[in-house]
Amino acid sequence: MKTRTIRAWSWTHKWSSLVSTLFLLMLCVTGLPLVFTHEIEEVLLEQAWVPANPDGPLLSLDAVLAAGLALHPGEVPAFMSFDEDRPVVNVTSVDPNGPAGAYSFEPIDQTSGSVAPPVAGHPVMEFLLQLHTDLFLGLPGMLFLGLMGLMLVAAVVSGIVLYAPFMRRLPFGTVRASKPARTRWLDYHNLLGVVTAAWVLVVGTTGVVNTLATPILAYWKSTALKELTAAYDTPAPTGERASLDAAVERAKQALPGMKLQFVAFPGTDYSTDHHYAVFFHGGTPLTTHLLTPALIDARTGELAAVAPTPWYVKALSLSKPLHFGDYGGIWLKILWAVLDVATIVILVSGLYLWLAKGRRRRQ
């Protein structure tokens, strides 16, 4: 490689890293416990609980919704999701005049209508997730972290290119442990950097895709779902909505064999202003991550459309597991944690190498 080429890649590596290191360190440190969110919340939120009427009939979804909303007067329904191993329906509501994203979340016992203890959403984990997602800054924060993710990708690619001149006389994996700290840490940095490259690139790019969730969903709504909303001028008022229970039943008929995941109410990111979007997922390991919504007209209860999601929404759906590492059992999660720690070592050693180089130059 020519000296000039190496210098250009060096410049790219240095600046893409320097600009993003602090934020990437925050992402790695908060990401480490987040990998084990499910396990941690199982411990933190563990509470013996049985439904009020284990063998009794289940309340209709409309009744559950009313019970959830009664706890938050003035709020409108946003989402409804379903626990898998207990008869609990989670009602998420939002104050239409409050700040965006300030949701209330109530797990409701479907056998009684009373509140069940939460199994997710511990405040500490929620805090970490929010910091990790958007630095508490909403969409601008998300997009900013997405930009930092792109810097990471640039740093990894330039790092791989620079690996060649550094390693041209060293067999793979050489660690010159007896040499001065700068040489030793350069070897650690290069070794860890090159073996983790694929994982870091996958977690980095899927992280970037996740930061684009809001614009991706907005684009989907404004294109693919647009025809469905053409007939109406104003959003479906909450007082004039068809039965939710009937809507979900209708949706189930439209997508036989698929599993109900959640309902998005009119006006939320995942639906139009006029439809209940009833989301289903498939039964195979892959399709369990892929969602298909049936849109039910919220005024009439009629099926408006089954809307298979376009490729970019599928890409967003698959980016979630590939970023979080929660799709292949506990060993995959442990690897995620180990590689996360390796990334922290790469970031800190990179910073150290830059500082040490500067010090040597000044001397």
Binding site: I160, Y163, A164, M167, R168, R169, L170, P171, F172, G173, T174, V175, R176, A177, S178, L191, L192, V194, V195, T196, A197, A198, W199, V202, T284, P285, L286, H289, L318, P321, L322, Y327, G328, G329, W331, L332, L335, V338, L339, A342
Partner: protein, 60 residues
């Protein structure tokens, strides 16, 4: 140093193998379930195995 420079194959051979194994592991675990998840996780584990091997055998 009188030793000859290594070629690209020698420099990138092992990293390329680990890169491909990692990708197969990452994607494979997404389409597989149960025992197969362990297999694909092990492919991603080649990253850790290579590091441990280097720290033991290539330390000098």
């Amino acid at each position: 140093m009188s030793r000859k420079d290594l070629g690209l194959m020698a420099i990138f051979g092992a990293p390329a193998v680990i890169f491909v194994l990692s990708l197969i592991g990452l994607v494979g675990a997404l389409v597989a379930d149960g025992v197969q998840d362990l297999f694909y996780s092990a492919l991603l584990g080649s990253t850790v195995a290579a590091t441990v091997w280097a720290l033991i055998r290539r330390r000098r």
